[in-house]
Amino acid sequence: MEFVNLTIDNKSVKVEKGTSILEAARSVGVEIPTLCHMKLDDVNIENKPGGCRICVVEVDGRRNLAPSCCTKADADMVVKTNTMRVLNSRRTVLELILSDHPADCLICAKSGNCELQDMAHKLGVREIHFKGEQSTYKEDFSPSIIRDLNKCIMCRRCETMCNEVQTVGTLHAVNRGFMAVVAPAFEMDLEKSTCTYCGQCVAVCPTGALTEVDHTNEIVRALADPKKKVVVQTAPAVRAALGEEFGLEPGTLVTGQMAAALRRLGFDYVFDTDFSADLTIMEEGTELLGRLGKHLAGDKDVKLPILTSCCPGWVNFFEKQFPDMLDIPSTARSPQQMFGAIAKTYFADKIETKREDMVVVSVMPCLAKKYECQREEFATDGNPDVDYSISTRELAQLIQRANIDFNTLPNEDFDHPMGESTGAAVIFGTTGGVIEAAARTAYEVHTKKKLEKVDFEELRGMEGIRSATIDFDGLPINIGIAHGLGNARKLLEDVQAGKSEFHAIEVMACPGGCIGGGGQPLHHGDSSVLKARQLALYKEDKNKPIRKSHENPYIAKLYEEFLGAPLSEKAHHLLHTHYFDKKKDIEIE
């Protein structure tokens, strides 16, 4: 490894050759502001178009100011990040950006969490000297994401996420010059595009150009309606991130406070999606073993590998981009939808409430879940199994709006019966978790032996594509894991080409899995946040008394009282789904 010595703001710095000035400065505590640069080390994502020009610095011997994100640190370089010339240029450029940006901060969804707003504050902009025409585009409301491109500053982070990381190819820079913006083809609405609603674009957008559809008001209304029984479920990844919205360190587990807060918000039943995650393992695990059994028996037509299906962004992805492979994924519904289906049948019966008087709300780290609960197949007579899906961020807002001091709340438990879960369910929130949970159950069901070592370390990590072979008592099971749709595409293309050796593949649309979901508190490009959330989930798993889904007593009871057995007719009806070729639905206006 080659190192270079340079000087930044009179501090001498030694960094590896090839390091950017921005990073070199950061290493000695000089934080150079930027609006477009974004680097997620662990998932190998870097966005540095050098477009915002906020990060410019003075480098001795150069005619022009240098963008510190794109300029590599060189030996003996002398860099100044805070000269008059730099500060003036930086502020003027920011003023220019603001001159083409609506000044509606007070009512903007991103207010308080907006990098542009913060930057204006940080650089001390008090006046915009250059007024003029602002670019205008039509607003786009999809079931999950709202695009208000008048607020786009062309940082291109969303484009990087959508194309390089997710390979979805929905968003691309279009037009030229002043009218340049990031948009889908033909500037069509997201709803008609290839968008999977994974929400990674929203997660990295520094401004209010990309935000989630807000359902908080509908929820407040439902909670206030005395006729409605409002049931809430919270996804595993939410508990590992919600605290960040209240100033807690990333990775702080707030499961108990979250349950307490939900109760104080007025939800009638505070349940856990972890419960239906265990249910998912029962169904999906059984399906896997079924296919595996047929395969071992020599059935040539059986579809292997089986692909997990709990991630709605991933489901959208293969429905829109791989419509020829609809029979490969598991037919099991996602935990959110399993929960809704059971809540509005089994549980509704238990509390003697009619379906239409029940409102099921989910709190998800995800924006695609908003779309998922609107899918027609997840409704009975037009009444959806899950009425509203809100993001972790929206929940935090609801809590704040209700004047609840989150940090002083006591730890409370979820309600029964749908609040009970196992450690296997908790790790659904991270990449590798679903397949580990499935392996724990499938192993015991298949081998009829007790699993000695519950932790499958070989399935854990942050590598984009991972694989491991698990010994099912002499039967080697090849498992593949991909997070981020770009990685998923690679595995799927192998399957398509008949080259895949895997028996089962877990796919999560978002980098890191649900912990890095599009509905989570914004990590603003800090990948250590994702790692902390991941560790928190494994910790919760470890601390759970029961760590295998099939050992969840309430799940056993559910089968006993209501469903019969995994893959029973009733289970099929309520807990499974089928997929559609949505490629043909991508419309041209």
Partner: protein
Amino acid sequence: MSSVKIKLNQKEVDKLREVCASFNNEPDELINVLHKAQEIFGYLPAEVQEVIAEELNVAVAKVYGVVTFYSFFTMIPKGKHPISVCTGTACYVRGAEKVLDEFKRRLNVEVGETTPDGKHSLSCLRCVGACGLAPVVLVGEKVYGRVSPDGVAEILAEYEV
């Protein structure tokens, strides 16, 4: 920019596929493919871009991003006799703007638009390199040099009937 609704028939789709194939369906050749396609269709409606994206295995948003980047590509059908006024510097200093204004006035269209009867579309272009004839106007392939605002009516009259 709005896109244009058009339904391609199978023959046209096949033709496009042939064009893409002639460039080995190489994503590198996107711009060459778009040139060819525009030659065939006269413009690049959304569906043409869809087919090209499919064949070259690139996102259609990218194709659109490229189409909207380059001024040579258009998603609006050109008029039967497209009029282009050169607004290169040489033409500008010799009065191209006034000529352009006169075309706008007479045709009652803005730059980038086509007359309702589809006869003329009006566009600007930067330097055809006939600076000796400035200001220069192109109608289709035909070049008119040293055009004055007064000459505009005369040029348009050629395309009456």
